[in-house]
Symmetry: C2
DNA sequence: CAGCATCCCAGGCGATACTG
DNA sequence: CAGTATCGCCTGGGATGCTG
């Protein structure tokens, strides 16, 4: 944690560190976490191996780490089936689903406004060449 | 960029890398960017030095870098007043304000549901000690 | 199959010093 | 005042190898 005890300039930092929205961003700002929420939201419960193959590019370290974090935060459930080869399924909790709903709004905003952002970038880059 | 040209497993990665919502998360997932949006949203146009003092803990490197990024993305305008000591004001564009609106929903969700998340964490930590 | 442990490197970020 | 430039640390995260 960067803010330990008595912060020197507490004006906005106090707000930042303790603010729920800040902590939420810590969660969904994570690349894999947000992808996992979407994946699990779209396709229901998924096995570890399914997640691994569907979310291309994720290392198993990050996959496990992200899933643990989400489990800890109550966003997913982890169901272990002790069959011959072990089977583990991950599923969004209702809390996770409500978060998915919020993220859909993000997605919506993005789809509507990202073209403007892209345009702004092009303009900016053209000017500063 | 992690995905350069031909990705090996394009299933979800293609979606991820090119998806507008993914790119939006790249933006608002940034700690300082999100803080800056909120700060500028709450308190109107702010000078560089005001931002620097109000958002405690930010280095001027990150402050400048974040502001540049936001300017490039069309989220803020940068107004230079060539007075004796230079004066620079940053202000949310309408695009930036619409993003602020979306982030308010995040904030709302967070305020409502973060207690559940905290509770889940406590339970999880208690179980795995 | 579903992980955990270890090693290791790139680059993100803070600290510091300098400029128009 | 509002930055840019440089350096160096430190950690996030990929790669690899091992286990129940």
């Amino acid at each position: 944690m960067e803010v330990s005890a008595q912060q020197p300039k507490p004006q906005f930092n106090a707000f930042a560190a303790s603010c729920p929205s800040r902590r939420l961003l810590d969660t969904i700002g994570d690349k894999w976490v947000s992808l996992l929420i979407v994946a699990l939201g779209l396709r229901g419960p998924l096995r570890y191996s399914e997640l691994s193959s569907q979310i291309a590019g994720v290392s198993q370290k990050m996959l496990t780490q992200s899933l643990r974090r989400m489990e800890r935060d109550g966003l997913v459930t982890r169901t272990l089936t002790p069959s011959v080869p072990v089977r583990v399924d991950y599923e969004l909790t209702s809390l996770g689903q409500s978060l998915l709903a919020v993220m859909s709004h993000l997605k919506e905003w993005a789809e509507v406004h990202m073209p403007q952002v892209e345009a702004a970038r092009a303009t900016y880059d053209a000017a500063n060449r």
